[in-house]
């Protein structure tokens, strides 16, 4: 190892340590910002020291690439709406996957015939895996982005030959893998496999419905890390291996949390499109009580403790700022206000927390489902805003319900429940909600933001 190589590797170790400490600091909201800075510093020194490598000669190309990508990145980061974070993360997952795929391709295309004949099976295997995972991540993320941003229909695309198509893809890719590793000088096998992987990413994601997108984003996040790790193995670069795996682990843990919160296995989510959709319409009988907004004000005015349960509908109605205003009025009225957030509320893990943080709600008041459920009886009023399935008692009571067994925020055990909703229809997953028929539930129908603003007006005119 010459002195330059040694320096580069030592700096990589420092960068890895910075990434690790950065992630550690991300464990608490107070230190998270510092953690992100540390991690960025690690990235910066890793990039700068790589440029020292004497092998690198195409500086003007590199500069052009960094400038083009960097400025687009700045633009996206500064302008993205917090409601649109899931789309953006999805898109970035895709770019990460595509970059790894291109690295594998570029590495391979730079080889001479002799290098191809003498390369090790380990290297060809890892290059193949890099291109494979990178390609699936790329097209899968683009489809997820399209579904989340409304460019494509968010419905699961299911048709008869889907299972067959997927199996053909997987068999084809396996066969091509054997061919390529056995005869690497026939680079054509690699290209065909890459095309198949790109196409597989599309089919696999198309067949998953919009409600399951949080799982898909988390999983693709994991893939983008694994692709980077595989690229690191292929080109023997330790920093890529370590950091790629940190990301891979992060995505996998989030995937697991999402699946557990929906009481489904990962396989069930990924293959849901392959099953025949069941249309079991369980009729819930009873009467829905609609409460005029002014009456709701009187109840809130007398309440000692209020729990707010937000869902994606809150983001759609952009009601978070009005909610924060109402929270202040309630607190001035000596009422305790908390928020309860279900792990799958919103379109990505932690989405609601970011939206509420943007509206200046202190993070101490955002409680997790497991913190709230044991003593939910003590709340005078629970306000459900734009959430439906995550508060559906059918998950506990109705054995035949599609969501039976899913952990939910048990709002029906509180003294009274207000459901702010546009109409009394079923939710995103199309499941009837018996909560609406409970004795202690009242519906406040209409646009959530307008409803809250009306209550705010009542408070101030008092």
């Amino acid at each position: 190892m010459n002195i330059i190589e040694l320096t580069i590797n030592l700096v990589y170790v420092v960068a890895a340590v910075l990434f690790i400490f950065g992630l550690k600091l991300l464990g608490h909201p107070d230190s998270a910002k510092r953690g992100n800075l540390l991690s960025a510093l690690g990235m910066f020194i890793a990039i700068v020291v790589t440029l020292l490598d004497q092998d690198i000669i195409q500086f003007h190309w590199i500069l052009a690439g960094i400038l083009a990508g960097g400025s687009f990145g700045v633009y996206k980061a500064k302008t993205v709406q917090m409601t649109a974070m899931p789309e953006m993360v999805s898109l970035f997952n895709g770019f990460g996957g595509a970059a790894s795929m291109l690295v594998a391709w570029a590495t391979l295309s730079a080889f001479t015939i002799m290098q191809l004949e003498q390369g090790s099976p380990f290297m060809f295997t890892t290059l193949f895996i890099t291109a494979l995972i990178g390609s699936i991540t790329f097209t899968g993320s683009i489809v997820a982005w399209g579904k989340l941003s409304g460019h494509f229909s968010s419905k699961a695309l299911v048709f008869k030959g889907l299972r067959f198509i997927s199996i053909v893809h997987l068999l084809g890719i396996s066969a091509l893998f054997v061919l390529f590793v056995s005869y690497p000088e026939q680079i054509i096998w690699f290209y065909i496999a890459m095309l198949l992987a790109l196409s597989f990413g599309v089919w696999a994601t198309m067949s998953i419905g919009g409600a399951d997108m949080p799982v898909v984003i988390a999983l693709l996040n994991s893939y983008s890390g694994v692709a980077a790790c595989a690229a690191g193995l292929a080109i023997s670069n330790v920093i890529l291996i370590v950091t790629g795996l940190l990301v891979g682990a992060s995505g996998l843990i989030l995937t697991q949390i999402m699946c557990k919160s929906m009481n489904r296995s990962l396989l069930n989510v990924l293959l849901s499109g392959f099953a025949t959709p069941t249309q079991d319409a369980i009729q819930v009988s009873g009467e829905i009580k609609v409460m005029p907004t002014h009456d709701a004000y009187y109840v809130l005015e007398a309440a000692q403790s209020v729990l707010i349960v937000p869902g994606y509908g809150m983001a759609v109605a952009q009601a978070q700022h009005a909610l924060r205003e109402l929270q202040e009025l309630l607190e001035d009225n000596n009422c305790e206000v908390n928020y309860a957030i279900h792990p799958v509320a919103g379109r990505m893990p932690g989405h609601m927390n970011v939206l509420l943080a943007e509206a200046d709600v202190p993070y101490e008041q955002l409680l997790e489902m497991d913190e709230v459920n044991p003593n939910i009886e003590r709340y005078d009023v629970v306000m459900v805003i734009g959430a439906n399935d995550v508060v559906n008692p059918a998950a506990k009571e109705l054995k035949g319900s599609p969501i039976y067994g899913m952990p939910v925020i048990e709002v029906y055990r509180a003294k009274s429940v207000f459901v702010l909703k546009r109409s009394a229809n079923a939710g995103f997953a199309g499941v009837e909600n018996p909560l609406f028929y409970k004795n202690n539930t009242s519906m406040l129908l209409g646009d959530a933001k307008e409803t809250i603003n009306t209550i705010i007006k009542d408070f101030s005119s008092d």
Partner: protein, 93 residues
């Protein structure tokens, strides 16, 4: 470098990753995802190497494209994470 040596690194890095990420609270899961987006831009390091080593046109084009895409992740990912984390505040009363 020895492949076994690389695989040992893989195992340790994976275990370390699981331990670290498990401790991140649910409230920070979105910044965690955008932050790990940025970190996965480490592919940039691989892209830099592959865009610089050869003079062949195809690998220059591919490498430059990879550099551009990874730069989007690095720059965009860190900036948007910073923007989000600046919003998380303690109660002030």
């Amino acid at each position: 470098m020895d492949n076994i040596y690389l695989l040992i690194i893989v195992i340790f890095a994976a275990l370390l990753g699981f331990e670290l990420i498990k401790k991140v609270p649910a409230t920070l899961h979105t910044p965690l995802m955008s932050g790990s987006n940025a970190i996965s831009g480490i592919t940039l390091v691989g892209a830099l190497a592959s865009s610089g080593t050869e003079n062949e046109l195809l690998s220059i084009v591919l490498g430059t494209l990879a550099v551009a895409l990874a730069s989007i992740n690095v720059v965009g990912g860190y900036l948007v994470t910073d923007r989000m984390l600046s919003m998380f505040k303690k109660k002030q009363r």
